[in-house]
């Protein structure tokens, strides 16, 4: 390798030597590695509902040949698990993937499928989001695994993500159980080299007629429950001798029990400790753990989020330390691991850092320039509505300057919450639910039926931007395309809504601010369930929209900044002032020409660039 000759001091010469990697290696993101593992394991059916950080798993599985496997977007996570269950019972290997909160939706099926077991291997990949980079909570999936008595595998890097996924199918068949592979944002979105293999050719086992096992009737389930407990015992026994649990000897004074990406932080920060790396968090390999703990003077458990392992070990009567030193919230990192070990008296000094005493610039995520949700929320705020929100890009309508959302809980909750508000007699403002197209299909339809059935006075705004935008622009049943991009039936929202029994339905152009006001008024004046479908494609997906930009004719700008209430990131202050206030300017590269700001401007000084001088 050519040594750099630059004037910047070359860094750590010794570091980049010794080739260690051989040819059948690919650079894969954790999620791609999981898909690769499933493909190699001969998976036949894959189903998922998108959700950060899990989305790329099914997208990636969909890039493998259609002859090998079927990969699909499902309407929600429960449907995706049900699809996988059906495929497993039919005799093939099946997988579903979801983000942590998706498992809440799918859990009804999981809890009982645990009793039923599998035929072909059945794997659920669940991606947690410690630190909530893009989630509404940071629940810990390991508790769900324990609750459902389903084993939880915990890879620590992309290589293990691939290997463990493959193994998960074998364990599923061997122990007759669904298996959870748990990932986290750090693993799912980290790219590293992976030694890949070939696809196993697995014949379908065929459907096995066994109603006593497959039909979840009380009489059958009573027989199955003890079998599940026995399965847990057998799994523990297996783990005591499995490679999934790795003992890395080191100092006999300090032993660390760890798993997942936490393992990588441990090896980074205290390479000298003895380490017991658990590849499985439920159930626990009790014998090995006891022997490990006996071999060292002090045992520290390093895990992200809940003190799950720590509590289990205490229950076993083993003395361990853990959350006393490390946070129970947010992501673990080399920094907070080091701080914790410092508190524990294990590390004597913390490294120095550069501190310029700078309060970093606030750069929160914002709606894109020309986002079709912006006008709708501006109207809602100005018109004064009590807004029950939902989950998607449009949740950003909750923050300044749109600030037109009073509550938001979980996917599809908005309509049910609006029903409750109306029933509670909250009538100071019109009660409105706002819900995205994908969220409406996911869990909004049953709630809309509820609203009609129970005859409440609410307005529902269906924000149809024709994609699952928040997670990167995936297709869904309302786009008319499948995961592999093939054309398929497209759900007609207006027909569905009318069929449910809604009498007042109107579709408006999300860019037409005047019509939005007008239609919103009419809808809220209607006594009963009114649905406004606000329709415009997302500015970013599936096609990045770019029209002629608008510009501000500065002479006419009175610096009222009314246009800035749209939260469009293309609009910011110019250096010119009017009466002590900043005039505005429009970034010509990022403006997509949606015209909403021009409609809002009271002095008519926002104009199309071609006609102007910009």
């Amino acid at each position: 390798m050519n040594k750099g000759t630059g004037s910047i001091a070359r860094i750590h010469e010794a570091r980049t030597t010794t080739p260690r990697i051989d040819p059948e290696i690919k650079s894969l993101m954790g999620n791609e590695a999981i898909a690769r593992g499933a493909w190699e394991a001969g998976v036949k059916v894959g189903a998922a509902y998108p959700g950060t950080p899990s989305t790329e798993i099914m997208e990636s599985l969909g890039t493998y040949p259609a002859e090998d496997l079927d990969a699909q977007w499902s309407t929600n996570e429960k449907v995706s698990l049900d699809v996988a269950i059906g495929a497993s019972l039919a005799g093939v290997r099946a997988m579903c993937a979801m983000k942590h909160v998706g498992l809440n939706v799918a859990s009804d099926s999981l809890m009982s499928q645990s009793y039923i077991g599998v035929n072909g291997g059945l794997v659920l990949v669940v991606c947690d989001d410690p630190g909530m980079h893009s989630s509404q909570n940071e629940q810990d999936t390991r508790l769900f695994g324990q609750f459902a008595m389903v084993p939880v595998l915990e890879p620590s890097d992309a290589q293990e993500a691939k290997d463990f996924t493959k193994l998960a199918f074998e364990l599923s068949e061997k122990f007759d159980t669904p298996v959870i592979v748990r990932s986290t944002t750090r693993l799912s979105h980290c790219r590293s080299p992976v030694v890949v293999g070939e696809r196993e050719q697995i014949e379908s086992r065929g459907f096995r007629d066994s109603p006593a096992k497959h039909v979840a009737l009380p009489t059958n389930a009573r027989v199955r429950h003890p079998i599940v407990l026995e399965r847990e015992r057998k799994l523990k026994e297996y783990l005591n001798t499995s490679d999934l649990v790795r003992w890395e000897p080191g100092s006999d004074e300090l032993g660390v029990i760890t798993l997942s990406t936490c393992y990588t932080y441990v090896r980074e920060v205290i390479p000298e400790a003895s380490v017991l790396k658990l590849g499985v968090s439920y159930p626990l390999a009790e014998d090995v753990i006891r022997r490990f703990c006996d071999s060292v003077e002090r045992v520290i458990v390093v895990e992200e989020l809940e003190p799950f392992i720590e509590r289990e070990l205490r229950a076993m009567g083993i003395e361990v330390e853990g959350k006393k030193y490390f946070p129970r919230v947010g992501e673990l990192s080399p920094e907070n691991l080091r701080e914790g070990l410092h508190k524990a008296g294990i590390i004597s000094e913390l490294p120095k850092t550069t501190d310029l005493g700078i309060e970093p610039v606030a750069r929160p995520p914002v709606l894109c320039a020309g986002c079709s949700h912006a006008g709708t929320y501006m109207v809602l705020r100005t018109a004064g509505a009590r807004v029950m929100g939902d989950i998607g890009c449009y949740t950003l309508g909750a923050i300044e300057p749109l600030k037109a959302m009073d509550a938001c809980v979980s996917m599809g909750a908005s309509i049910g919450m609006a029903v409750g508000m109306a029933k509670a007699g909250a009538t100071d403002k019109p009660v409105v639910a706002t819900i995205g197209d994908s969220t409406f299909l996911h869990a909004g339809i049953p709630a809309l039926i509820d609203a009609v059935y129970n005859n409440v006075n609410i307005t529902v705004l269906l924000l149809d931007n024709q994609t699952v935008a928040m997670t990167g622009g995936q297709d869904h049943a309302g786009t008319g395309r499948t995961l592999r991009g093939d054309e398929t039936h497209r759900v007609d929202f207006e027909k569905v809504i009318r069929a449910i029994g809604v009498k007042w339905v109107k579709t408006v152009d999300s860019y037409d601010i005047g019509s939005l006001y007008q239609t919103y008024r009419e809808a809220t004046q209607y006594d009963g369930v009114a649905v406004v479908i606000s329709n415009r494609p997302c500015a970013l997906d599936p096609v990045k929209i770019k029209g002629t930009p608008f510009y501000v004719r500065s002479e006419g700008c009175t610096a009222c900044q009314a246009c800035m209430n749209l939260a469009c990131p293309a609009i910011s202050w110019s250096d010119e002032l009017f009466d002590g206030h900043h005039k505005v300017k429009i970034n010509q590269t990022t403006c997509i020409g949606c015209s909403m700001c021009a409609q809002v401007c009271p002095t008519d000084c926002i104009q199309l660039s071609e006609t102007g001088t910009a």
């Binding site: 050519n2 080299p193 995520p365 800035m564 939260a567």
Partner: protein, 310 residues
């Protein structure tokens, strides 16, 4: 580690723990190409048969938020993220983002390379009061150099424009980055050629060499020292004032034009459908309501505050 008497520490360090990885932190704003730049580096490491981890958070990236990507490579890499204070190089595609991540740079040996480009988010322009300034964080090149001697501020976009394609700015930065790492120019060029549109291969090749030379060659010494970051405009000079909204109730017919159009949403109709100033603190005296009211029912008065010091 305090348990230093233990056998583990006295043992020969194992090959997996001896060699520390090289840490490059690449940061910027959604849409700038942070991920693409870091993929080039990661691919380069892979081709040179190194272990490499590239970790990013991209959930909110496309929505104009801060984007960062950790690239770590060497004989063995454990943590996917660079520990605080251990980045060998911080490559920033935007000035304030560079400042945000400076604590991650190794305070003794770290190198800071940053574009002087400033992307001021609308969020920094939220204060509507008279005389308000943007709260975009500003530090001059000199201020940063006082803390980080190995600092390079560059106008990569300007340099790329000089070559006829402003989009090659990131390749200029890669050229600069290349001077701090042990990969051959040919390897860099080959990978860059694969990752840019075919028509732009030549301009990117030049952009890479320009960036590289700019740091290495004495010919650019003066230029290097002259780079400045645009200063924020001075705060507008305004008098200390009292805002007074005069509403002639008899003339108001409750059409609510002003209520809808007030940018600060500080007006409301009261129970008798007459406009009132519901949130006086939010009023910035933009006068929009005065100009828009068809019935002249609102007048905005701005009085100088008497600030006589007794």
């Amino acid at each position: 580690m305090r348990v230093s008497t233990s056998s583990a520490v006295e043992r020969e360090p194992s090959p997996t723990t001896a060699a520390e990885p090289t840490n490059v932190l690449i940061v910027g704003v959604g849409g700038q190409g942070v991920i693409t730049v870091s993929k080039v580096l990661a691919q380069l490491c892979l081709q040179n048969k190194l272990k490499v981890k590239q970790s990013e958070i991209h959930g909110m990236a496309k929505r104009g938020g801060a984007v960062f990507s950790h690239v770590r490579f060497g004989r063995e890499v454990y943590s996917p993220t660079i520990p605080l204070g251990q980045a060998d190089i911080l490559l920033a595609l935007e000035w304030a983002e560079g400042l945000r991540w400076l604590p991650y740079l190794n305070p003794e040996t770290g190198t800071f390379i940053s574009d002087t480009q400033q992307i001021i988010p609308p969020f920094s322009c939220r204060n509507r009061k008279r005389g308000a300034t943007s709260n975009y964080v500003f530090r001059s090149v000199e201020q940063v150099k006082q803390h980080v001697p190995n600092s390079y501020a560059v106008d990569a976009t300007g340099m790329a424009e000089g070559l006829g394609n402003p989009r090659a700015a990131n390749t200029v930065l890669l050229g600069m980055l290349s001077t701090a790492l042990d990969f051959s120019v040919d390897d860099w060029q080959a990978i860059i050629a694969q990752s840019v549109p075919p028509k732009t291969v030549e301009v990117n090749r030049q952009a890479f060499l320009l960036g590289r030379e700019w740091i290495q060659s004495d010919a650019h010494k003066e230029e290097r020292e002259q780079v400045e970051v645009a200063k924020p405009p001075p705060a507008p000079v305004v008098d200390d004032v009292v805002i007074d909204l005069e509403i002639t109730e008899a003339w108001c017919k409750g059409c609510d034009i002003c209520v809808k159009m007030c940018p600060e949403r500080c007006l409301a109709l009261n129970s008798s459908e007459i406009v009132e100033l519901a949130n006086p603190d939010a009023c910035t005296a933009c006068r929009l309501c005065e100009w828009l009211c068809p019935d002249f029912a609102i007048a905005v008065h701005v009085h100088k505050k008497e600030t006589a010091i007794a």
